[in-house]
């Protein structure tokens, strides 16, 4: 259930970088989620769908790279 707060932080990171890169739209957000990170990918996806509304990421897809380990990071965004 903490995925909502974490997704907000992840989305903020993505939006900040998109703005800095003078992008108008985020097409995709790629994240790496470790099996030991304590983060549940399906909850993350649900939170993303709710939170992206009204932002430059509103039509973006979330791509999750599931890995072993504890990583939980925003790898890159695809923008235009």
């Amino acid at each position: 259930m903490h995925e909502v707060g974490l997704m907000q932080d992840a989305l903020d990171i993505a939006l900040e970088h998109a703005k800095r890169a003078d992008a108008t739209r985020i097409l995709a957000v790629r994240m790496r989620v470790g099996a030991l990170s304590g983060v549940e990918p399906s909850s993350l996806e649900f939170a993303f769908e709710v939170m992206k509304a009204g932002t430059p990421a509103k039509s973006a897809r979330l791509e999750i790279d599931a890995v072993p380990g504890r990583e939980f990071e925003v790898i890159e965004i695809e923008v235009e």
Binding site: H2, L6, I13, H17, L36, E76, E80
Partner: protein, 270 residues
């Protein structure tokens, strides 16, 4: 319209929490405070465990010639203000996290320790910022041990670093032998596992060997203490561990967990 392009980021989402946690850890180390983050499911007996710890662990000794028992006894190095036969004291305080109510804070206040309640208002865990804010309002000078009672939840608190020096996962015999396998993250990251309510083992037909086997699969190196916070059974070994951690950290104000663990081992840990 511009063509799609990739912006590389590679930023840890919890980087912001971790930065605050690192600041907390530095501050606590400078002040020589051992910070203990206690996590468990609701109803495992965290508050009872902490109430007894606060009441019983704060004063001990005098040390000389008390060569007691078969359990390992850690002899903490004497601090500058201690004479050989004076009772040793730990000054303790508590930060209590709950989603709602200050019932636990009231209960712990009766021990005489300073208690600060954080009411998260629906948030399922404490984060480093909440701890920084709570600590800001406390009298930290001269404090030896700061205990943080996290929100009762086995999932979310496990992933948020608060800047603690000791992570404690508490589990009771009534919860079932496979709890460590069901909630591995909490146990994998624990320095200490408390198995509580052992006075109820027979009543719930607790299979100790199965539980220990499961626990060791996910937490092979954690210090395990089997206790009944209600009756006090088994608590003294936990106090010894806590005192050794606290006095060890006071000696060199180190942030290095490894060296502190080694100190504990050198004084007779398992």
């Amino acid at each position: 319209m511009a063509a799609p392009r990739i912006v590389e980021i590679h930023e840890a989402v919890q980087g912001r929490n971790n930065a605050v946690a690192a600041r907390n850890r530095r501050l606590f180390a400078e002040l020589g405070i051992t910070v203990v983050n206690v996590m468990s499911a609701p109803g495992s007996g965290k508050t009872e465990f902490l109430a007894r710890t606060l009441a019983d662990a704060a004063v001990w000794g005098p040390a000389p010639s008390s060569n007691s028992t078969s359990v390992p006894t850690f002899i903490p190095p004497a601090g500058p203000n201690l004479t050989a036969d004076a009772p040793r004291r730990l000054r303790t305080a508590v930060i209590v996290g709950d989603i709602a109510t200050d019932n636990d804070a009231k209960r712990l206040s009766r021990t005489g320790a300073e208690v600060v309640q954080i009411t998260t208002g629906g948030y399922c865990h404490l984060d480093a910022g909440m701890v920084a804010q709570a600590a800001d309002g406390m009298n930290l000078c001269g404090l030896d041990v700061l205990i943080i009672e996290n929100v009762g939840n086995m999932v979310c608190p496990a992933t948020f670093d608060l800047g603690e020096s000791v992570r404690v996962a508490l589990l009771s015999v009534t919860e079932g032998e496979d709890k460590p396998l069901k909630y591995p993250t909490l146990f994998q990251r624990a320095d200490v596992v408390i198995l509580n309510k052992i006075d109820l083992s027979d009543a719930v037909e607790f299979d100790r060997a199965a539980a220990m086997g499961n626990l060791r699969r996910v937490a092979p190196d954690a210090h395990v203490f089997e206790v009944s916070a209600r009756t006090g059974r088994g608590m003294s070994r936990w106090y010894d561990y806590l005192r050794a951690r606290a006095t060890g950290d006071n000696l060199d104000s180190t942030e290095d967990r490894e060296s502190t663990d080694l100190l504990v081992e050198a004084h007779g840990g398992s």
